[in-house]
């Protein structure tokens, strides 16, 4: 009996807190009556748990309903909601496509860096691990490999930037020392962006990279397509909405919308 009374008081306290979440106008008008109703329901209930369930379900359902019914939400233009949705859909689509494209740019480098690190760790000479072909990191789309010693100094490379072997920031090596591998977009010079995978070998680091020119041009194409779709959808929605507004004002059709 004491438990039931205390449980009832607890439920009513929680209910009072729940009432604060109703829209202000509704709360001001109804909260004292609702609170009294809940107290009477609990006082006369033969099953406090069942009554608590009824009050909880009702509170959640009516909170949602009353917030959806507020004039503030109803006054929010339908067109603005639709345009927000198209912006969100186009933005999400564009972002996902760009991320997939960027991730696909790492494909051969992951294998090249891991294989290179294994071969160096197995004792092969760095010069034998990198190919003989000299690749211009600035102009070529071919993947290249650079091997660094433990202190981050280059030892062998198939990739060159204006005749020199570039070195990534020291923090990249520190991260790979702790985590064995990393994937980064490396910009050794303004305008030259490299999709790079860095792997740890037993006595240094192996970087495999590839110029991102082609991937970036595809990413830009995706952006242009998403922007064109967004614009087209918004123009069509605005036209459809304006047409609806116009038709609703026609006398014959207006009658159909009037409440009986």
């Amino acid at each position: 009996m004491i438990f039931a009374k205390r449980f009832g008081e607890f439920v009513l306290t929680i209910y009072q807190v729940g009432l604060r979440f109703y829209p202000a106008q509704f709360r001001k008008r109804n909260s004292s009556e609702m609170s009294r109703c809940a107290s009477e329901m609990m006082a006369e209930s033969s099953s406090p748990i069942s009554t608590a369930m009824t009050l909880t379900v009702d509170l959640v359902q009516s909170l949602i309903t009353e917030h959806l019914m507020t004039d503030r939400l109803k006054a929010f233009p339908q067109l603005a909601i639709l345009l927000t949705m198209t912006t969100f859909i186009a933005g999400t689509g564009c972002l996902i496509s760009q991320q997939v494209l960027r991730a696909s740019a790492n494909d051969p480098q992951t294998q090249l860096a891991e294989d290179g690190a294994q071969r160096v760790s197995a004792g092969e000479s760095p010069a034998a691990v990198v190919s003989d072909r000299k690749i211009s990191m600035e102009n070529s789309l071919a993947p290249f490999v650079i091997i660094y010693d433990n202190s981050g100094r280059p030892v062998a490379s198939s990739g060159f930037l204006q005749g020199a072997i570039p070195t990534p920031p020291k923090g990249v090596f520190d991260y790979v020392r702790a985590n064995r591998q990393d994937t980064i977009t490396w910009q050794p010079r303004p305008g030259v962006r490299i999709a790079s995978v860095i792997a740890r070998s037993s006595n240094g680091f192996v970087i495999a990279g590839r110029n991102m020119r082609e991937i970036e041009s595809r990413k830009f194409m995706v952006l242009k397509l998403a922007a064109a779709c967004w614009l087209l959808a918004n123009v069509a929605l605005t036209f459809w909405w304006l047409l609806g507004q116009f038709l609703a004002k026609l006398p014959g059709l207006k009658m159909l919308h009037q409440p009986r």
């Binding site: 109703c37 379900v57 009702d58 509170l59 359902q61 009516s62 009353e66 009986r260």
Partner: protein, 125 residues
């Protein structure tokens, strides 16, 4: 003119939600305050409809705006708000009951309702 009036009178109001219908039904035998309406809904609707204060007062507010119910203050208990049906509320209730009667008649004609059971798709309860 009288023909238009009789035509309008024959037009039924749209179907009511279960909450609105049960509140109108609860108020059919006189004015009541919120908790009395809740209790009456519990008696009329049984276990199939368990209404709480949020649904009740939200529905009452919208029904008052639609002209189906009217609010009163009781001289004996100023803290309580009492509600009563308006003429429009009485008509809405009558229309809904008429609709339910038609549905029940149709179900009876199809042999789905017998004095002791309701049958659907061969199952009975």
């Amino acid at each position: 003119m009288s023909s238009i009036k009789s035509d309008l009178a024959s037009v039924r109001l749209p179907p009511l939600t279960p909450a609105v219908f049960h509140i109108l039904l609860a108020l059919a035998d006189g004015r009541k305050h919120g908790y009395a309406i809740l209790k009456q809904v519990g008696v009329d609707g049984g276990q199939s409809l368990r209404m709480g204060p949020g649904t009740l007062y939200g529905s009452l507010q919208r029904m008052e705006a639609a002209g189906l119910v009217q609010e009163f203050e009781d001289a004996d208990d100023e803290r309580r708000r009492f509600y009563d049906l308006t003429r429009a509320g009485q008509r809405a209730l009558a229309d809904e009951l008429s609709r339910l009667r038609d549905v029940l008649s149709a179900a009876k004609r199809k042999g789905m309702v017998t004095p002791n059971a309701v049958r659907a798709h061969g199952a009975s309860r």
